[in-house]
């Protein structure tokens, strides 16, 4: 299964940006916490503690803002600037998550914007890379 090469039409972004971002963010942090708890996501939480993150899905007009403490992830309701921001179109984010595409490749091609604390960006990227999906039901979705 390959992610098709599409960009969402601008109308989606203009609608989505008016919707509250909390539900998708909540889903994301719940999933992350589950993965940490089950030991699938080998997060060294002390490296992430106290940091704010933003995933900006450009063509969907959705910004997912979350934070981490020593033990878990939570929805970030604050208005403070994130320590780390990833921004890309939905298809490219999906490719990255499903390991069809290397984040560095997307970055070289300027399809992925990484802003803020560069070292934190590297920690997160390496964290995603080190998840062994073969132990999870998600394995069948992964490209590699």
């Amino acid at each position: 299964m390959r992610v098709p090469d599409i960009t969402l039409p601008p109308i989606i972004a203009s609608i989505a940006s008016k919707l509250p971002a909390t539900p998708p963010t909540l889903a994301l942090v719940t999933a992350l916490n589950q993965l940490v708890k089950r030991g699938v996501l080998p997060a060294e939480m002390e490296l992430l503690a106290g940091k704010r993150f933003e995933v900006d899905v450009l063509d969907a007009g959705i910004k997912l803002r979350f934070a981490a403490d020593e033990a878990r992830f939570s929805v970030d309701q604050s208005t403070q600037a994130p320590d780390l921001r990833f921004a890309a179109n939905l298809a490219d984010l999906a490719r990255m998550m499903l390991r069809e595409e290397d984040p560095d490749t997307l970055f070289f091609n300027r399809k992925l914007v990484i802003e803020g604390d560069t070292e934190l960006g590297l920690i997160v990227k390496n964290l995603l890379d080190s998840v062994d999906w073969s132990d999870t039901p998600l394995a069948r979705f992964m490209a590699v």
């Binding site: 560095d104 070289f108 091609n109 802003e115 560069t118 990227k125 390496n126 590699v144």
Partner: protein, 335 residues
Amino acid sequence: MPKLPELVCPAGSLPALKTAIDHGADAVYMGLKNETNARNFAGLNFDEKSATAGIRYAHDKGRKVLMAINTFAQGVDISRWQRAVDQAADLGVDAVILADLGLMDYASRRHPNLRLHMSVQSSATNYEAVNLARDLFGVQRAVLPRVLTLDQVGHVIRHTDVEIEVFGFGSLCVMVEGRCLLSSYATGESPNTHGVCSPAKFVRWEQNGNTTSARLNDILIDQYGQNEPAGYPTLCKGRFEVQGDTYYALEEPTSLNVLEMLPQIIDIGVSAIKVEGRQRSPAYVAQVAKTLREAIDTAGREMQRFSVKPAWQAALGKLAEGQQQTLGAYNRPWK
């Protein structure tokens, strides 16, 4: 058919290791989560548990695992590096890749049966250097820095019985490995001392209108327009001013790619082809391993008749830094 060089792929994580094996690597190289290896990046590399799992995975499929302990032990207390060698031996790796002569000395005495590879960071660019490491420590393979022409690589091979490994694909060091202090000049940390080059904690990206600026410890390395391909903010790949000209004064953001030279590489008797990129993702490892596996096998079969398939070139081109590729020093005109 001539003897094919081993395909040696990078593994920065357990998924990358499995991916490399699944896509045709004959061997993978990995490092521990500390400054004993030259890709000492936050969140990358192996601990005891993942290393054990990785080695088992590789050995079950008849492939090899090499452990890179390729920084230079610092000062008087070098026990961390020695422990890393002991740990590698205990884990049952197929070889350790060492840069520091003192550490090679330790490994050869303490673990006489542990196979030693001389890291590219040892800067062995001629057969006398390689043979010294063989005579002193019984080194069985040397990885050559990316500074020799293909003829010079052949010359080294003809004058030593040590196996020779060369780089085949990945981000290019334009400097002799092990002899580049640019990173520490700007940041205080270098590959030799800390296992890092242009470390992330010193990198700052600044967005100013449509221009992205990359700074390393405040030193401006490069600026990119909106759709200009970017590279790592590695010092040697920045744009600088020399006598009023602003250009890539040392090297473009580019990747080495030896596809078109594979028949010659096989012909001169190279023992292994190494892929750079332990810091890259499993997706990269998969695509490079698969492409090079196919290309090496095809080159071995076809030799003189070999031609590079456009699909391989496209697959690798996409992954290349700055989306540019070069034959590097192997091809004389590059110099």
